[in-house]
């Protein structure tokens, strides 16, 4: 597994995909900076809500798809799959490592987001102590909530040799997010909406699917992840090259 990871890392590092990690935290931070300062009882909560909305609603789901597609792109393009599978490595190992890298990139994105949030807070002169507990839960929650979506996108990206098709699919399903999460009934079940729900589930003024208790959300996420990941892996192991 370690061998596969090191090989994948080399391929990944040399592609420019890693730069995309910065996009969302930067945009979210800029947006938050432009927002006028208001006297708030919970300034950090308010800041998180402002930043996480764009990030969780739009960028996180999009990036999960982009990373998954990118990590398969150079394999599809140059016959890489074929080369890997005639080498003494297990297909399961390759799939797990690929998924791990997608999640790793998303984690990096979350950490940068945290950095951006703290930076904006400082620039705005928020004096209240940083609520690490709340921030940690939100960011980690958002990250974990990306897992089903990342698994689904990875499955699609390995199955389709086209780079654009999985991305298009992802965009099409990400855009209705804003509507879907308003529904208490369907919101939690929607893989593209789960990241923002998880990131903002602690917010007081909840509406729609935000009213769903975090425990329920977690169960749905875990179930979705297991389903998509197992399905993708099963397909990948049998895929004819």
């Amino acid at each position: 597994m370690w061998r596969i990871f090191r090989s994948e890392l080399l391929k990944l590092r040399k592609s420019h995909i890693t730069l995309l990690v910065f996009v969302s935290p930067l945009l979210a931070s800029l947006l938050a900076l432009l927002e006028s300062v208001q006297e708030e009882a919970f300034p950090w909560h308010q800041l998180l809500a402002t930043m996480a909305l764009l990030h969780g609603l739009l960028f996180l789901p999009l990036l999960a798809g982009v990373f998954a597609a990118f990590i398969c792109r150079y394999e599809h393009a140059g016959g890489g799959w074929k080369q890997i599978f005639v080498l003494p490595v297990s297909r399961t190992g390759v799939y797990v490592v690929k998924f791990g890298l997608v999640m790793g990139l998303l984690l990096a994105c979350q950490l940068l987001f945290l950095g951006g949030l703290l930076g904006v807070g400082m620039l705005k002169g928020i004096e209240a102590p940083v609520p690490w507990d709340m921030l940690g839960r939100s960011l980690l929650g958002g990250w974990v909530a990306c897992a089903p979506l990342a698994a689904l996108q990875l499955a699609v990206s390995t199955a389709w040799s086209s780079f654009a098709a999985p991305l298009a699919l992802n965009v099409i399903f990400t855009l209705p997010n804003i509507l879907v999460i308003n529904s208490e009934k369907f919101g939690p079940w929607y893989p593209w909406g789960q990241p923002v729900l998880a990131m903002l589930s602690g917010a007081q003024d909840g509406f729609g699917a935000f009213l769903v208790p975090p425990e329920t959300l977690l169960i749905v996420i875990a179930g979705g992840f297991a389903l998509f990941f197992a399905g993708g892996l099963l397909y990948f192991r049998r895929k004819a090259m």
Binding site: R3, K14, Y74, G80, K82, F85, V86, L87, P88, M241
Partner: protein, 304 residues
């Protein structure tokens, strides 16, 4: 345990009701250079993909190094280097980095990269991104990749496809030296007999998914040896005279055709005919090239 390095048992692949490979029994012994021949679309690549576990056979089994491929895939593939169809590469990486990516998977020593680059003479271009490579360079990079893990068995699918004559010659020499100097067992597929003629010790000819010939290259040569045509005045009597001394000839429009024989045997035939008072007008050898024989075996290469 069998002595075969590659052994397939009634290997069959059916896709959408079409049988691409049909009950193939392919055997390759240690140290052999096996020419796997057949016209385009005969099932060569499909067979090779099954040999490497890239696709699953519909029926039949593959054994490599005496072990079942499905059960011991990774252990077996460690000893195999293969190149299927076109060479695989990562365009955004340099030649060196491409090798490094595979080296990490194989856990081979780092020095091995420079070694294989030297073998395929790609040391100079190794620092350039592969997307700028010519087809010949990509092919050489592919072969370098194949050699990284010091395999005991090479499986090369049309390794000279798309190369210029100099490139073809170079790859051919490389394959020969791999067998000679490193004792590797090699399977090379091609749709041209002339390509493997000079390096193969054994050949298998596949046509429409079926193995129609599998034997030493010498046996193929013997089968395709020319015939001696004798033009005589009394064909019928000459034919009987030859048969009387155990030589089976074929009579056709005033000529007798006999399978190619040694000079002494031809001389004996002539003596025999003269003794029977039969006038011999002409003795000709009808040469049939190996390629013609191959084409005849495969229905004149009807894929062309």
């Amino acid at each position: 345990m069998s002595a075969w390095i590659i052994e397939t048992d009634r290997l069959t692949k059916t896709v959408g009701g079409k049988t691409l490979v049909d009950g193939l029994n392919l055997t390759i012994g240690k140290g052999e250079v096996y020419g796997f021949l057949g016209p385009n679309g005969a099932g060569k690549t499909t067979t090779i993909r099954m040999l490497l576990g890239l696709i699953r056979p519909t029926r039949g089994k593959v054994r490599l190094f005496g072990q079942d491929l499905q059960r011991n895939r990774t252990a077996v593939l460690r000893k195999v280097g293969s190149l299927v169809e076109y060479p695989s590469y990562y365009g955004h990486l340099t030649g060196y980095e491409n090798l490094e990516a595979v080296r990490r998977l194989l856990d081979a020593p780092k020095s091995r990269i420079d070694e294989v680059l030297g073998v395929v003479r790609l040391t100079k271009g190794a620092g350039r991104p592969v997307k700028a490579y010519s087809l010949g360079m990509k092919q050489r990079l592919g072969i370098a990749t194949v050699l990284l893990g010091k395999p005991e068995l090479l499986i090369l699918d049309e390794p000279t496809n798309g190369l210029d004559p100099a490139g073809i010659l170079e790859i051919r020499e490389l394959i020969k030296s791999m067998a000679r100097d490193h004792g590797m067992t090699i399977l090379v597929s091609s749709h041209l007999l002339s390509e493997v003629d000079q390096m193969a010790t054994r050949v298998g000819i596949i046509h429409k998914g079926k193995m129609i010939f599998q034997d030493s290259i010498q046996a193929l040569r013997d089968r395709s040896r020319g015939r001696i045509s004798l033009t005589v005045d009394r064909t019928e009597e000459a034919w009987k005279a030859l048969l009387g001394s155990g030589i089976r000839a074929e009579a056709a429009d005033g000529r007798l055709l006999v399978e190619s024989l040694s000079d002494e045997k031809v001389a004996a035939i002539v003596r025999l005919l003269v003794r029977h008072d039969i006038a011999v007008y002409r003795i000709q050898e009808e040469k049939r090239s190996l390629e013609e024989h191959f084409l005849a075996l495969t229905d004149g290469g009807d894929s062309l």
